[in-house]
Symmetry: C2
Subunit: 214 residues, 2 copies
DNA sequence: GGTTAAGGGTGGTCTGACCACTTTACGGCG
DNA sequence: CGCCGTAAAGTGGTCAGACCACCCTTAACC
């Protein structure tokens, strides 16, 4: 950084600013928490208007790349791609807003998490899962969410977990979904008897209970 | 739309503007290509400054949600996340673990699409898939993308397809990935011999070829 | 040394000016 | 009446400037 924003005939100033900021972050080896130059300084250095700098920063902020704090400055944030997926998914899910697509996609993720978690479920986990199933203070949807949150944590694939969570949260705007209670009991049994090959057939044999039909 | 931006104590004006625009898109059932109100009109209607409106629009533009054209206006775009993906990739690369998550998640989706497509693959589809495999003008990555694009279309689960597409585009910024060529041939064979039960083991037995290691 | 107030710096928001480009409207001519 | 050219109106794009809310640092006072 030190040169003005390069103005290609098609590129808007905020896009040039964005590129320069990214280069600055790279060259300075900035880590999350590190401070960027002030808006005014950026505007001076890049010979752009402060508004144009702000437009670039707002775009980055929405993507979760930076955090701006009034009176303090602009800081590189711990990058959380999942927040971006959240915003994007709100559009994606809207387009694909058929119940069938959503529920099947979610079921697939749950099934795969169940299988990924398989080798990591020990006796203690079984206890916790069974405790969940027998907690009579929990409604079926909450139990479902807690159950699979547990399994997704065990799967140790954060991206899958987050995508599932977004689908789960989004599906709540449609209605509440869960499997028949026998399903959960049988899945825990499969973990108990170490019967990996029966996980997929189990998912295939249980239909989702659709709260809206009741 | 018609009320001013609600100012919560923590929310910035541009975030409120963003919400209102999203609501407007919903209420008007806007489709890609449809025109949004002008910046000045939005500023009047939402009782915000034009700069604040622009900040919100820049953020949406960077996400590929809208397209602004000087002299014409602001249009809802057919969702194309290319610019976003490029911007995010420089940050997503920093986490090797995220990378591992991404590849595994993508493989899972590809596997499930292959299975969902199973019952819809006919002789004509087989011809097309085989044609893909024998197109020597295609590099391995392009072939992989075309191959699975085809399968996801056959799966008829638009949500899964979109999530996979997003992951696929993310992963391209990291490196180029595909399976060993024998994989595709064997999968087409499974379709030909109608051997559904072997799809999952096939995916389990093939490692992803990582271009970066070559 | 501790506390408080002031000063300087930060981001946040808005207004206004002006430019480049597109679309619309109007007038003149055939 | 239709077409063409020009001007006006409308669009986004950029910048400067003003002022506010907040934060941090420094200086002054007890």
């Amino acid at each position: 950084m030190g040169s003005s924003v390069v103005m290609s005939s098609k590129q808007k100033v905020y896009q040039g600013v964005l590129q320069k900021i990214r280069q600055y972050i790279d060259h300075q080896h900035l880590m999350p928490g590190d401070k960027l130059p002030s808006e005014r300084e950026l505007a001076d250095t890049l010979q752009a208007g402060r508004s144009s700098v702000r437009e670039a920063l707002r775009a980055m902020e929405l993507l979760g790349l930076i955090e701006t704090r009034r009176g303090e400055g602009t800081f590189l944030s711990t990058y959380r791609p999942y927040e971006t997926v959240e915003l994007l998914s709100s559009f994606i899910l809207k387009e694909a807003r058929t119940r069938k697509d959503l529920f099947l996609a979610k079921k697939i993720l749950e099934k795969e998490a169940a299988k990924l978690a398989f080798s990591r479920i020990d006796g203690q986990d079984l206890d916790k899962l069974e405790h969940l199933l027998h907690d009579s203070l929990m409604g079926p949807t909450d139990r479902h969410v807690a159950f699979f949150k547990y399994l997704f944590a065990k799967s140790e694939n954060l991206l899958l977990a987050r995508v599932w969570q977004l689908m789960e949260e989004f599906s709540h705007t449609i209605n509440k979904l869960y499997y028949n209670k026998v399903f959960y009991i049988e899945l825990v049994q499969l973990y108990s008897t170490k019967n990996y090959q029966l996980i997929e057939p189990l998912f295939d044999s249980f239909a989702i209970v659709d709260d809206q039909m009741e």
